[in-house]
């Protein structure tokens, strides 16, 4: 002990870097986003030089996990009739296993033998160390055409093939006019066309809310400072750049609710359809109103939950007593797509549903345990967050393409109404098809469904 004390006393008091590490405190930039160290020109040159390798790595990861083939379900389209729904299980099995053999193994055994299909594990952002919003090319191109606003990043591209994302532009259904059906006129709502398209359909309050939801404001990667990933001084992004036509275009981001950066899991954009029945908002934040969500997304989706960075780059602070309620009221009239086989109770109409769909409903309500969270009577929501404890099946702490695989913890229940319109699935978009989700829950909840039951469940979800 004396020797030990002597060693401590021997440390020169003038050693300044030692002072930084004396306390058991983590570095502040594990929480706060640091400013860039180099000029934009240097950062951009390095990002552009890295880009091919970044995309190669992500492509290799995705192809290792998933089957991207174009296999549409015959005769099935999304609600706007503009895109086919893809079918089949796309998650690849570990060599020597079958879905049945995996379902017969205990979670510990799957973990210890490393047998969890990699496609069931958290999906990294295309560039985890940088993160930020990444838009699909259809959104980038249409915003460029209509607004001459640039949503393209110089460091990364969107990483999923077009046939596995939602139809574009998505249809729009209004609770205030169910009789009209899709009112989108097959156009993407933008600040340039919203008034022309929506005046006469909306109230003044809703129209003003829509204007605000379509107005670009600076964001972490799209702003005017040197700390950005757009080549030009960007005009910023809008709420509906991700929630295209109040649905989703599969744009992705990272959770603003976790630090450090490597642990921030990917977030697939959630549809705003039926948000009027949703009591909690944000996959992780559990915000209690659409007003809270609309207000605080200006600092979360836009700025990674970093109000310091937001302040520097030009945060938009919508007025809580005037503007936020208008944004909320606009979102609250966005309806689910029609589901003609569903009764007002959320149950299938036996006179309209097929035998397979009805069988799927029985699995959903019974052996499949789906209705425990996705309650048909309440828009397939339970307004609760649940922890599936997927980490029972894999060893935590592995790093895959920059993402540290840690337990996700509780995530909110998402609606299943109109679910065929919303690929990819799960909060991070790790699953490409509804068949994948059935295999995922069959394993995680240890349901031991038969092949017939799995297929009926998919048929049932397509009817929702």
């Amino acid at each position: 002990m004396l020797r030990h004390l002597a060693m401590v006393l021997a440390i020169p008091l003038t050693c300044s870097w030692m002072a930084l590490c004396l306390a058991q405190t983590l570095p502040p930039d594990a929480t706060y986003r640091p400013l860039p160290s180099a000029s934009l020109a240097e950062v951009k040159a390095a990002d552009e030089a890295q880009k091919a390798e970044v995309m190669r790595l992500q492509r290799a990861l995705l192809e290792e996990r998933l089957d991207f083939s174009d296999r549409a379900i015959p005769g099935t389209t999304m609600s706007g009739r503009r895109k086919a729904v893809q079918g089949g299980v796309r998650v690849k099995l570990p060599q020597g296993t079958t879905w049945e053999s995996l379902a017969n193994l205990a979670p510990d055994e799957i973990r210890d033998r490393g047998l969890l299909p990699a496609g069931f594990m958290p999906l990294p952002h295309v560039k985890q160390a940088t993160g930020g919003q990444v838009f699909p090319n259809n959104q980038i191109d249409e915003i460029g055409r209509q607004e001459q606003r640039n949503l393209r990043r110089f460091d990364v591209d969107f990483d999923l093939p077009d046939h596995l994302t939602p139809e574009f532009p998505p249809p729009i259904f209004l609770t205030s006019h169910p009789e009209l059906g899709d009112v989108s006129r097959a156009q993407l709502l933008t600040i340039k066309n919203y008034y022309h398209l929506m005046v006469g359909f909306l109230t003044p309050v809703q129209l003003e809310g829509l204007r605000l939801l379509l107005t670009p404001f600076p964001q972490e990667e799209f702003n005017q400072t040197e700390d950005r990933k757009s080549a030009d001084q960007s005009l910023g992004v809008t709420c509906l750049d991700c929630h295209a036509n109040f649905h989703t275009n599969a744009a992705f981001h990272q959770t603003p609710d976790v630090r450090p950066q490597a642990a921030r899991f990917r977030l697939d954009t959630v549809s705003l359809r039926g948000v009027f029945n949703q009591q909690i908002h944000g996959s992780k934040r559990s915000l209690r109103s659409i007003e809270d969500f609309s207000q605080f997304e200006q600092r979360t989706a836009y700025f990674n939950g970093d109000h310091m960075s937001a302040q520097r780059k030009g945060v938009n602070l919508p007025d809580r007593f005037d503007q936020v309620p208008m944004m909320a009221q606009m979102q609250n009239i966005i309806d689910f797509p029609p589901a003609p086989k569903l009764l007002p109770t959320g149950r299938l109409d036996p006179s309209k549903a097929s035998q397979q769909e009805l069988a799927g409903e029985q699995v959903f309500l019974g052996k499949g345990e789906c209705a425990g969270c996705h309650i048909p009577q309440t828009s397939f929501l339970d307004n609760t967050m649940h922890d599936l404890h997927l980490e029972r099946f894999y060893k935590i702490g592995q790093t895959v393409n920059g993402l540290v695989m840690l337990p996700d913890g509780p995530i909110k229940t998402f609606t299943l109404r109109g679910i065929k319109d919303s690929p990819p699935y799960m909060h991070d978009g790790r699953l490409l098809t509804l068949a994948d989700t059935v295999e995922f829950f069959n394993l995680v909840l240890r349901l031991k469904l038969t092949q017939q039951e799995k297929e009926s469940l998919v048929a049932y979800m397509l009817a929702l």
């Binding site: 004396l22 306390a23 594990a30 160390a129 790093t399």
Partner: protein, 203 residues
């Protein structure tokens, strides 16, 4: 930037691959870093790829904290091995001694290669904890030791994830990805032991 201050034999043992091919990351690893965190004037092995041992601030932060934390872990484990009569606690300490010494040495070499001044002794927080532990016996010691280890493993897990995301030195990031699962395993082991200890023991 001061480079390669260690003898060649050590440098060879922990050498950073210098070719671009060796720098090419695999999907299973830390991925590409964010160039926004690369200091101006950093030498590059290829466009967009920092040269070996070109550290950014996150790399340095990590090394500084990890050198201190790693050495402390070994010192605490030696104390526990001498003091504790609890089989679980002793086994945990022995495991720490067995598994931490190698990584601690690797981190110390990386720190030295990076030109960081050597660290000796414990930091102030851990010194205070060590002094308190030295006066305890029996269940009170076991509880205090395991509590300190849980805190240390929590910090180390966050620190490793931090450098994986924000660091730029490939060798350092690869080491962090290698160490993180083990660190989390140590944390879970410490938490499991805590559940077996006398809850009335002094904190």
């Amino acid at each position: 930037m001061r480079l390669c201050l260690v003898p060649m034999s050590l440098a060879a043992a922990f050498a950073m691959p210098s070719t671009l091919a060796a720098q090419t990351a695999q999907p299973g690893g830390a991925g590409q870093g964010n160039p926004a965190g690369t200091p101006a004037g950093t030498h590059e092995a290829a466009p967009g790829v920092p040269a070996p041992r070109q550290l950014n601030q996150a790399d340095r932060n990590f090394l500084q904290a990890a050198v201190v934390g790693g050495a402390a872990n070994v010192e605490f484990a030696q104390l526990a091995d001498r003091t504790s009569g609890n089989t679980g606690v002793k086994q945990f300490a022995e495991r720490t001694l067995r598994e931490h010494q190698g990584p601690s040495k690797r981190i110390a070499i990386l720190a030295r290669n990076a030109g960081l001044p050597p660290v000796q002794g414990l930091d102030a927080d851990r010194k205070a904890t060590y002094d308190r532990l030295s006066k305890l016996q029996g269940a009170a010691f076991d509880r205090a030791y395991i509590d300190s280890q849980i805190t240390d493993q929590q910090l180390m897990a966050q620190l490793l994830a931090y450098v994986i995301g924000s660091g730029q030195d490939r060798e350092l990031k690869d080491l962090a990805t290698e160490l993180l699962p083990t660190t989390l395993d140590h944390l879970q082991a410490a938490q499991a032991i805590l559940g077996t200890l006398d809850s009335t023991a002094a904190k």
